[in-house]
């Protein structure tokens, strides 16, 4: 990553928020689904918005809602959130070149908004030599606002907006991550072997029947380990 001073400016926040807008095509339908299912599981609008505001991680919310009961499954929902969101832990660590320069609320508040998309855009931004850590907060805050809006609309509209399973719009979420991979790619020598291994391991784990976060974690860690091994061996 680049040297030099890292800043945290309003301009950086606004630029991050602007760059986040296209991602909403992918996250908005997801938010609608979470809202509709929360309604179906008997959560009030207030409870739904509180969960979305504080947890702000769609796949863990969806998984917890899948196993929702009355009274609420406190332990099961907490464990579901922990397992699905474990993938976020290395993302904060990877953004250390930016985060190390922040203190107090700027640091711990920015971390509260960290999601896959804000990490991905920020990782690409550091590659381009970006030094404004406000960018990370800007992406996260913009996605949070649209997330709350989508979940609220989904809850209020209830059954009316329910998209059938397999609707093409659901593909937007996957497409977002495919597109994000393009600026992350740094060439055959560095990335080809680790990326192929990550794909192979995640597919093998998925075919073996492992549930939600495990194929992702196994593929990501083995791919990154191969990349690190190749790099340290070359030196």
């Amino acid at each position: 990553m680049s040297g030099g001073a890292v800043a945290f400016t309003r301009r950086g926040v606004l630029r991050g928020a602007r760059d986040a807008v296209p991602l909403v095509i992918g996250t908005f339908p997801f938010g609608l689904v979470v809202g509709v299912i929360s309604d179906a599981k008997g959560l009030s609008l207030l409870e739904t918005l509180l969960m979305s505001a504080l947890v702000f991680a769609g796949s863990s919310q969806l998984l917890a809602l899948e196993l929702w009961t009355d009274p609420a499954p406190i332990v099961a929902a907490t464990i579901a959130a922990l397992v699905v969101n474990m993938r976020l832990a290395p993302m904060g660590a990877a953004l250390a070149p930016w985060l190390d320069r922040l203190r107090g609320l700027r640091l711990w508040g920015t971390l509260a908004t960290l999601v896959d998309h804000s990490y991905a855009l920020s990782a690409a931004e550091t590659r381009r030599g970006g030094r404004d850590a406000g960018y990370l907060l800007g992406v996260g805050l913009a996605l949070w606002c649209f997330w709350m809006l989508a979940v609220a609309i989904g809850h209020v509209a209830g059954a009316v907006v329910r998209l059938p399973p397999g609707h093409p719009l659901y593909f937007a979420a996957i497409a977002t991550f495919c597109a994000i991979l393009v600026p992350v790619w740094q060439g055959v020598r560095r990335d080809l072997a680790p990326w192929l291994l990550a794909a192979a391991v995640s597919l093998a784990a998925w075919w073996a029947g492992l549930a939600a976060p495990w194929p992702l974690l196994a593929g990501a860690l083995t791919g990154a380990a191969l990349g690190a091994w190749l790099e340290t061996r070359r030196r």
Partner: protein, 100 residues
């Protein structure tokens, strides 16, 4: 507008562990300087994370998933416009679904 205690506790439990995931990874690495290999691994993590997320999700869709992913990558590389790339992917999966 109801807010039940059991639901509130479940939400707070989820929120707490999710924040620990977000902030904990960073806090841990700030407290203990990671070895060089781990630091190199973190720099290599972005690509493999999204590959490992996308590969099983595409496999669920079958061949049309991978074709749509190619469309996304081509449009993103050509235009550098994320919205256009996402739209191309949705259009491709929709079109390929009509063919099948």
């Amino acid at each position: 507008m109801t807010l039940r205690l059991d639901v509130l506790l479940a939400i707070l439990g989820m929120a707490l562990v999710t924040y620990l995931c977000r902030a904990g990874g960073y806090a841990l690495f700030r407290a203990f300087r990671p070895p060089r290999f781990v630091e190199a691994m973190l720099q290599h993590l972005p690509g493999p994370i999204f590959i490992a997320y996308v590969a099983p999700a595409l496999a669920t869709q079958g061949a049309k998933g991978f074709l749509a992913a190619v469309a996304v990558v081509v449009v993103q590389a050509a235009t550098r416009n994320l919205a256009a790339a996402i739209a191309a992917g949705v259009a491709a999966i929709w079109g390929l679904g009509m063919l099948a």
